[in-house]
Symmetry: C2
Subunit: 215 residues, 2 copies
Amino acid sequence: MEKPAISKPTLQRLPIYLNYLQSLPKSVKTTSAKQVALALGLNEVQVRKDLSVASPNGGKPKTGYEVEQLKEDLEEFLGYHHPKEAILIGVGKLGTALLSFTGFQQLGMKIFCAFDNDPEKIGKEINHIPIASVHEMKKICLERQIHIGILTTRPEPAQELCNWMLESGILAIWNFSTALLNVPENIIVHNENLAVSLAMISHQLDEQQKKESAV
Amino acid sequence: MEKPAISKPTLQRLPIYLNYLQSLPKSVKTTSAKQVALALGLNEVQVRKDLSVASPNGGKPKTGYEVEQLKEDLEEFLGYHHPKEAILIGVGKLGTALLSFTGFQQLGMKIFCAFDNDPEKIGKEINHIPIASVHEMKKICLERQIHIGILTTRPEPAQELCNWMLESGILAIWNFSTALLNVPENIIVHNENLAVSLAMISHQLDEQQKKESAV
């Protein structure tokens, strides 16, 4: 299916619409942009636009959307019906946690193999995902045509491993390491930094408490 | 220590500076905004400003910053020396993964207790963190004066549990559920949505591949 271009904010809202629809009782057969907007506290015009991108033929005047069809269209648009294969590099604390998380497949991604350089880890499995040597990465990725790499190493080796990934045909990197990666323009990097999130939360909390104690 | 107001982008860069400094060999005793900027591919003026916020007395003309002192100042600013206690609600797949992650404490947060409503889980421990009934949340949080709540439930019960958290004195919510939470203005919500990240990566990858196959 040819997908239309879509803005980042719209794309960020689609999983939220899907979750809302999944939370509806089975007895609810139809919905509308207005209802979704009301339920989620969003702007109706915006919701209407977003839904028309993900489900261009779904909305009917007067009746609105059929809930089941709209769920299907959102799942299809988000690629949940055809999980993409990914690799994970760095089976440390965070890598292990992510390998243990069994919810990725429902979200359109399947981790095919993990890589590490620790002989103690190589050859083992976590959550049925095998751990191989980083030296096998290129062969495995090119054979399986895997294009998504999840990077969960310390920052020091991150750039080198990033380069190896690119040689292995990886086109999109989900970067959980705290390193800033240098990549060619056509490579997608999505930074996910728990340290940054924690710094934000912690600092905002301090600020808030300072403000309240000053009142 | 009274901390100055700080912009969000600055706060997001501080953990990245710290990581860079931690990656330096021990023989490197001093550094400068210029060096940090060069190493990380950032703007020097920006780095200079950022560092002066986190380490107001650290930078000396000519010699620059002492690496050890700057690391100390960044860690102090980011609250790493005094981990804040947090609770986690929802010991499902993602909650279990986060409880298993032993890196939070180095990042200034310690999960004191987890909560669930599943009798099979209550009373057990993950990574030495006890799992209690959600009905004990209020008592425990008020007693320990815990202000950070990590929400890792399905979206359906998220708002109700959010309300319980607020009654329990929680001021900052790290929201890994896909629900949009309604909270009073003074409450901090930091949304962390793996489904959204995955949707972004997956879609950008599709777009990129479409572009390349069109060339």
